[in-house]
Assembly symmetry: C2
Homo-oligomer: 121 residues x 2
């Protein structure tokens, strides 16, 4: 599919990263057209930060990049699912997945690193 045919709502599609082997959902973020193009071209996860209003490469500070094995799109063509090999942890808090706790606050995720040791000034 030509990515021009995807439906970018307010310029963005929802992007879910899932471990290509375990099926664990690692994170969800947004992509603009450029982020999706760079992800396809480089086979590394790129996203659009809504808060910082800029393109970012997953792992650009931490080295915890995502090697993208497959990209699926949903029925409405307004969301993509990346099947990735996650180097290190997906979450900036040090957990393997951003979904490391239940809605009741119980921590169920695996912590892989201490953020202070990875994200240095």
């Amino acid at each position: 599919m030509d990515i021009e045919n995807l439906k970018f709502e307010d310029g963005l599609v929802t992007a879910i990263a899932q471990d290509y082997k375990t099926g664990d959902v690692l994170m969800v973020a947004f992509m603009d057209k450029e982020a999706l193009k760079k992800t396809i071209e480089t086979k590394r996860g790129y996203y659009w930060s809504r808060s910082r209003r800029k393109l970012w490469k997953k792992g650009e500070s931490s080295g915890h990049e995502q090697i993208v094995h497959d990209i699926l799109i949903d029925c409405d063509a307004d969301a993509v699912l990346l099947k990735v090999e996650q180097i290190g942890g997906a979450c900036h808090t040090g957990y393997r997945s951003c979904f490391y706790r239940t809605i009741d606050g119980e921590v169920i995720g695996e912590k892989l690193f201490e953020p202070d040791e990875i994200y240095k000034q």
Copy 2:
């Protein structure tokens, strides 16, 4: 966690539904506070439709509802991950998952029903 502490951007959080056994990502949608409350209370998946601007229950027309086993939240508290038992297909097109094709257009998903036979006028 009190759901008042979640970050509803423009009134919404991103909501991913994942098969609680296989790990397959079934769909992604949005929830407003009411949809999340009803999901927690009833253990069935409710969402907010951005196009129709209304609350909807997954399966309200088709019977293909979602029995919610767990709800996880992400690091930023602006997304939820539902671990669900999906009755029938998650996708209105008849596929088990809304992510039934690759970005190159190859269909990889399993079709479970014909929409015309399920969604009757």
